[in-house]
């Protein structure tokens, strides 16, 4: 059952059992909903952005262990980051979800804060071996990208 261990790393199960940054924010800078109509996964992301920095993030919703762990890890990876840094984390994460053959080590040198955040996120690298689950892992990231757009296009 080695394959399953690739998918269900201990750190993923930990985030699934004890998701970080659960809840709602009062008067957030952005509130965006994401749906996966095929499997019924739902997520709502609340962002507070102050002076170009994501000062707080909260999330509600439900879904499988991969989608819940991915969103939980995402929240810890972007909290305290600038919008630009958050965009970079999104890009790196989505790259990891599309590049099947290339390991993280071979990707171009990430900058210092990204490296730290992707360290934990790298646990999700095994998901690409399970193509139907990629959308579970990327739901929160696509929703975050929308939320950032909303913040950035706000007057």
């Amino acid at each position: 059952m080695n394959n399953l261990d690739d998918l269900y790393r201990e750190i993923i199960l930990d985030h699934y059992r004890s998701p970080r940054n659960r809840g709602e924010l009062e008067s957030p800078s952005a509130r965006v909903e994401g749906f996966n109509p095929l499997c019924g996964d739902e997520i709502v992301i609340y962002l507070r952005v102050e002076d170009g920095v994501i000062s707080d993030v909260k999330m509600t919703g439900h879904g499988c262990s991969i989608s819940q762990a991915s969103s939980s890890m995402m929240s810890t990876a972007i909290k305290g980051k600038t919008l630009e840094q958050a965009h970079r984390v999104i890009d790196r994460f989505k790259e990891m979800m599309t590049l099947k053959e290339r390991s993280l080590d071979e990707a171009e040198e990430p900058s210092e804060p990204d490296l730290r955040s992707l360290g934990e996120l790298a646990a999700l690298a095994g998901v690409v071996k399970f193509p139907v689950r990629i959308k579970c892992a990327t739901l929160s990231w696509n929703t975050l990208a929308q939320a950032l757009d909303e913040v950035e296009s706000a007057p």
Binding site: L4, L7, Y8, L13, G40, E42, C64, S65, I66
Partner: protein, 411 residues
């Protein structure tokens, strides 16, 4: 005496010799789509290899053969259903969904007025909900729901109130999520007493229980080929001859007309009026073979076999997991088919299905196109295991083994 033997069905079913992840395939997704026996595959192969031509109006030999195969399949389906009006009542569609849309768009649009009520139930598949919502938008009809009780059965205690203003009752014969077998004969009596008609979504019930239309007093029936060992891409809409005669065409085009002039058209009579365009001919050949095969097995024997499997699985799931694996559906096998919607405590259905796949076990995670029902029970999804004629208690063994792993992994 029926000679039904699931092991023989297994030998007849090529897919079951597949090995997945180093284990034999444990196929528990027949409620979604069933595995065709070799006779169905061969019928399609024979059609394309020897008899392929467009049907109707052809003069050459193979075109006549194709027409005979196609119309022979229609007669075969009529025989399988014991349709009182024979094959003139059997319309080929692309599946249950198209059949339900045909019912709503043709009979519904022609006969229902603003304020008329279509009574469905909370356990319907979206195919028996959305077409009525669409008719609500265009015709102002009301769509009303029969509630589902805590026992996972229709709550008919308020049926007399629910029937007020109802012109059509449209219910599933057997829930694709709960396995619940609905009291269709009783509902038909109630509908007719109130001057309403009754339609049955037979996607599950025709495939797993069989339907005798000369004994069951219903007005419309819809079902799919691929859920009853036939091919995908074909389904059936059945109604009584006199109702069909008054139904306006649904899709317009070739094949469904008697005459087309510059000033208009005259539709054909009978089933072909609803079969615009080239019909699914190869699929009809396959469905014809499927109903012959099912008849050779005997639907009563098949239903009894699935009931036995279900009783055994319900007992063992309750014993093995100490309440951690809940079956969303009636807890005992009476008036219940072989559909086991599982809710594993602390494990999302997608993860359940993923772990089961490592054991070669095919179950379906999701809302099963029945979101009102899922909402009713406060669930986003379940992992659904369902039996077919080829299922064995050995399949339940593997299911339980794999569920044990899921429970263990997620602690």
């Amino acid at each position: 005496m029926s000679s039904f033997d699931p092991r023989r069905v297994r030998v007849d079913t090529p897919m079951l010799s597949r090995v997945v992840k180093g284990r034999r395939l444990t196929y528990l997704d027949s409620a979604s789509s069933s595995l065709p026996p070799r006779t169905v595959i061969e019928a399609i192969d024979r059609y394309y290899s020897l008899h392929h031509a467009n049907v109707h109006r052809g003069v050459y030999t193979t075109a006549n053969e194709a027409t005979e195969i196609f119309e022979g399949a229609r007669a075969g389906v009529a025989h399988f259903l014991n349709a009182p009006g024979g094959s003139d009542e059997v319309v080929f569609t692309h599946g249950t969904t198209e059949s339900m849309n045909l019912l709503a768009r043709s009979w519904g649009a022609a006969n229902l007025r603003a304020g008329d009520v279509v009574l469905v139930s909370q356990m319907e598949h979206h195919a028996n909900i959305v077409p009525w919502f669409q008719l609500r938008e265009t015709h102002g009809i009301e769509v009303r729901f029969i509630p589902v009780g805590e026992d996972f059965r229709l709550d008919l205690s308020g049926i007399d109130d629910l029937m007020r203003g109802v012109r059509l009752v449209s219910v599933t014969g057997m829930s694709n999520v709960l396995g619940t077998i609905n009291p269709v004969a009783a509902l038909a009596r109630v509908a007719h007493e109130h001057g309403a008609l009754i339609a049955v979504d037979g996607a599950q019930s025709v495939a797993h229980l069989g339907t005798d239309l000369s004994a069951l007093d219903i007005d419309f029936l819809a079902f799919s080929g691929h859920k009853m060992l036939g091919p995908t891409g074909i389904g059936v809409f059945w109604t009584r001859r006199e109702i069909l005669a008054d139904m306006p065409p649904f899709l317009g085009g070739g094949g469904m007309i008697r005459d087309v002039r510059e000033d208009g058209y005259t539709p054909a009579t009978g089933p072909t009026r609803f079969e615009a365009g080239t019909p699914p001919i190869a699929e009809a050949a396959g469905l014809g073979a499927a109903v012959r095969y099912l008849e050779s097995l005997g639907m009563d024997a098949l239903a009894a076999h699935e009931r036995e499997l279900t009783a055994d699985a319900l007992t063992r799931l309750a014993q093995e997991f100490d309440g951690r694996v809940r079956v969303i559906g009636p807890a005992t096998p009476e008036q219940r088919g072989g559909v086991l919607s599982l809710d594993v405590e602390g494990v999302h259905p997608h993860d359940v299905a993923q772990i089961l796949d490592q054991y070669g076990v095919c179950v379906r995670p999701g809302h099963h196109c029945a979101k009102p029902l899922m909402r009713r029970f406060g669930l986003a999804a379940t992992a659904r295991a369902s039996f077919g004629p080829y299922s064995l208690t050995a399949d339940t063994d593997v299911l339980i083994e794999a569920l044990g792993e899921a429970v263990k992994l997620f602690g």
